[in-house]
Subunit: 376 residues, 2 copies
């Protein structure tokens, strides 16, 4: 039995659904906080849950290097290790191999790289990536793929796309030979900004057959326009009855626009990373708490926010924490930003079910553009 | 009306009491977590409260420089600023001026120093220290004093002690002329490791009259033996009906031994600082989670601990967080250590009331010395 996706409602291309895993239900559109090293930085799992998250993303590359997939398995799996008893998606490790590891070499059989921690030479094959994710015990595993930075020549995009397809087949075979109970494997559409390559990639992944389909190779240097056009061209080629995951995206606006184009799932370090750098996401747009104008402002970030810390702490206090490099500032703003991302996806879900996604999209963007209200 | 201290029980020199402030009751023996820059590093105030703390310490030196005492006052005071609605004690700023500021110069009138943040020249007089603490709105204020590192020549100890006494008188006058409702001012006994100077300091402070008496100038380089002997010589000279506060102390054993000698209140950065450095305090003694022997250990730090994180997270996970420099490790170990310090003081309070402090002291030390149990 694999994870099951149920479409609840559509409104234009936007979709609201439910993905059922053995660790619980993921409501889509879903935003997945990133728990890189078996922790969403600075936050207890109960706090992450309280922000509204149904599912976390774990990074296979980091976890395979430290503390090691076999070790996590012997400790009862990633859910138990990090005390997150809810759904977990793991990436394949491929993206971080490309971006973090030293001296990497891509061969047909596998990618060979040096660990950024200790320089050890390590091989990651499609089969090993599946094995690691099974050891971690994630609910949703991702195939190993090769992600190319944009812009790139078509020949390079095509080569990486074809390799990713061959790895997709091997990933699927490896997945089927392992424990599949309640687990899902997603294929990843590659092809850069080339519509024909994207279409070909999607078509052949569907032939292999996956529980869900991701769009990879975006948010890697291209413009928002190219990203949106590529989603426009790719999403319709994916099966309506399977979840669609746009990897590594993005800003609140990126997410809103991608849902409008038929995407169901997202992950991004932006809410937590920007929180650590003193930026809060709110329904009035981002607020940079480093700015001196907040030093005497007794108002909370958003007195109507359903997440208590966004209502309870003054901007003056958050400014003080950020200016003083106090870790509580990073903790609070990370959680406040994750809560905002969850409020955004919850708002989209409700709007899609109510058949007013278009209005929600327009109202949400208008509120962002209107900006933060000046102190009275 | 000033803060009121009520002695509940004594057992030998050890005392159990209650200090009532306008923000609530402080049960003694009491340990005060240090909230240096209007935050106990990394922890939400609700978390600090959940560890069992009745009262926090705020650092006047840090707060006067950033965000500034007048600013905190205009934002409603320190309790509201940092969302800690319970009792707060503030130090006078003197100790940090001595240890952190550049180019300090002690005059009769005040101490003149350069801010460690921006090099600005700032004067701190006894009167200004009281004014700042009134602006912060702390429940317990401390007089400005001069603290001398040990060992030091007797002439230097005497000079600083006499200056501290003159500053004590000025502090008392300044305090009386400000808002005293529900607020207390503590005098600080100085005199280093010289019994006659300590006795003289205590005697003259009592003549001035304070709501409580602190022993300053310890935990500044002397041995545990000198510290204990000095407490032995000083505590009996202090009024039985007022709380006694040993500043900046210490290890769990320091605290246990000081309570045995008649001390009621403590503050120290040790539980939070050591937590940030990967060390957990437990009833079996300290555990260094950096040690590789924890990497595969599924046991919690202490399965019988009343504070959930000490029971819920495995040592393997805490080890992983510490080794990965993940801020959640610092957050969890800071809270776990604060909870241990509160468990220790709670245990002492119960033992004193039950008339079995001697047994508690022996059992607690035996458990520390027995050490952590090896993994089975």
């Amino acid at each position: 039995m694999v994870s099951a996706f149920r479409l609840i409602a559509s409104d234009g291309a936007a979709r609201c659904g439910e993905l059922t895993t053995s660790h619980g239900v993921v409501r889509t559109p879903a935003f997945m906080p990133v728990g890189t090293q078996a922790t969403v930085k600075g936050l207890e799992p109960e706090t992450v849950r309280a922000t509204g998250a149904d599912i976390l993303l774990g990074n296979t590359y980091h976890l395979m290097l430290r503390p090691g997939a076999e070790r996590i398995a012997s400790l009862g799996g990633l859910h138990r290790f990090m005390r997150w008893p809810h759904p977990i998606l793991t990436d394949s490790g491929g993206f971080q191999v490309m971006s973090l590891a030293g001296l990497r070499k891509i061969e047909e059989r596998c990618v060979i790289f040096r660990s950024h921690l200790d320089g050890a030479t390590i091989e990651l094959s499609p089969e090993r990536a599946i094995e690691i994710q099974a050891l971690l015990g994630s609910d949703i595993a991702m195939q190993l793929d090769e992600c190319v930075r944009l812009p790139a020549p078509r020949s390079e995009l095509e080569r990486a796309m074809q390799l990713s397809l061959r790895w997709a087949e091997r990933s699927r075979r490896a997945f089927e030979s392992g424990p599949t109970d309640g687990r899902a494997l997603f294929g990843i559409v590659q092809g850069g900004d080339d519509p024909a390559l994207r279409f070909e990639s999607a078509r052949r992944l569907i032939e292999i057959g996956f529980e869900g389909y991701a769009i990879g190779g975006l948010a890697v240097g291209e413009s928002a326009e190219v990203m949106r056009r590529t989603i426009d061209e790719t999403a319709p080629a994916l099966p309506a009855d399977r979840p669609r995951y746009l990897m590594g995206v993005g800003t609140p606006e990126d997410i809103l626009e991608a849902v409008a184009r038929g995407i169901d799932m997202f992950d991004c370090v932006m809410p937590t990373r920007n929180g650590r750098h003193g930026v809060a996401f709110t329904r009035h747009g981002p607020i940079n708490l480093k700015n001196a104008r907040h030093a005497d402002d007794p108002r909370p970030l958003d007195e109507q926010n359903s997440y208590a810390p966004a209502r309870d702490y003054s901007r003056a206090y958050l400014h003080h924490l950020v200016k003083s490099a106090e870790s509580l500032g990073a903790v609070l703003l990370s959680a406040i930003n994750l809560a905002y991302y969850q409020q955004l996806t919850a708002g989209m879900r409700a709007a899609i079910v109510a058949g007013r996604f278009g209005d929600f999209r327009a109202e949400t963007k208008a509120a962002w553009e209107c900006g933060d209200l000046p102190a009275s």
